[in-house]
Symmetry: C2
Subunit: 201 residues, 2 copies
Amino acid sequence: MALEHAILVSLLEKPGSGYELARRFERSIGYFWTATHQQIYRVLKRMESEGVLAVLEVPQQGRPDKKEYSVAAPGRAVLSQWLHEPIEPESIRHELAVKIRGAAFDDPAALVDEVRRHHQAHSDRLARYLAGELRDFTGPDAPSPLDTGQELQHVVLRGGIAYERMTIAWLDDVLATLRGLAARAGSTAASRDGASSEPSA
Amino acid sequence: MALEHAILVSLLEKPGSGYELARRFERSIGYFWTATHQQIYRVLKRMESEGVLAVLEVPQQGRPDKKEYSVAAPGRAVLSQWLHEPIEPESIRHELAVKIRGAAFDDPAALVDEVRRHHQAHSDRLARYLAGELRDFTGPDAPSPLDTGQELQHVVLRGGIAYERMTIAWLDDVLATLRGLAARAGSTAASRDGASSEPSA
DNA sequence: CTTGCCTATGCAACGAGTTGCATAGAAAGC
DNA sequence: GCTTTCTATGCAACTCGTTGCATAGGCAAG
């Protein structure tokens, strides 16, 4: 139930409405934990009924009223307890990796475009992360001695940057491998190379 | 619904029972897609009823009978179609990252042990991956010209290795950051965190 | 000979997450 | 005037994933 804790962290960093949280989950905290607005509204409601969040109805002009949530005292306790509990190291779920293994039973070359799309998407993400880092942590407009929260946000962002760089390098490796297989399949077209899949169909 | 496709890939690589699949999902394909035996049995049943899998009851001695599943012709079509559909680039879900940001509202030093545990877990995983690579792909006992399936399995494994190495390096960074914060908190114990005048970078 | 582990399959209940849809006022473009 | 976009919240239905439990024979250790 880590969504609950991600919401607590985000609201401690800054109180806000469900809508605002949903937007934060599209950037910032959302780089490491995703959630749709549906999930967020549902969990916010539950957390409020449990007393871990306080809610304040804020009338607005020119736009719908909003419910601003903030962390109540029991919420801090919930977060603190979670922080002291051990969690399991993540197991990644990488759909593209499954596809790549699956390509052995189909045409590997057909994956090239897909891999390139992912390469582009990760390059874009990296660019966004780097821009954010410059803006908030390492650029001339950044606060100069970072406080604890900023230091921790920065190290998490550095993790995201490292992840994207690693992924991009790996996708290059994947593309090179696919190209190598295509060349091999081309030059030895008649031979029974590769495709542990089926001897003959 | 990538579990379905992960199962297709795994059964194409080698037919097997639900139990055997569950074990494969603890290693090999499970490095990139996790599933419990419950999920697997349920999905196998559904896939069989849809005709994408064929099942063969295999009596065994000294142990319970098993149902050996293999991919039927429609299953190959299902996989092939999926391979040609684009998928969204993964969004990671990193609980530890949420914890690290949350630590700003608690004692960051209390996270050190947790981070070290994760460091250890990822080091162990890396060691397993590297052992697997040596055994199956780069060692003296490995098949010398790898076939297509093996090349693709290898590039996926290289991705896992890169991921673990990146993660370990990042966890070192996290530990250094936590230590830095602890030192700062120690040396300026009385002062208010970020507003402090003591720069110790 | 009892306790615990391994193979092997499965049900039931629950919680997490996704998708589609609905509402509703204000602003902005055509 | 019409459509689209943005803010803002929410229901309903569904699928995906987890946890706990149950069964059942064989094997090994104490």
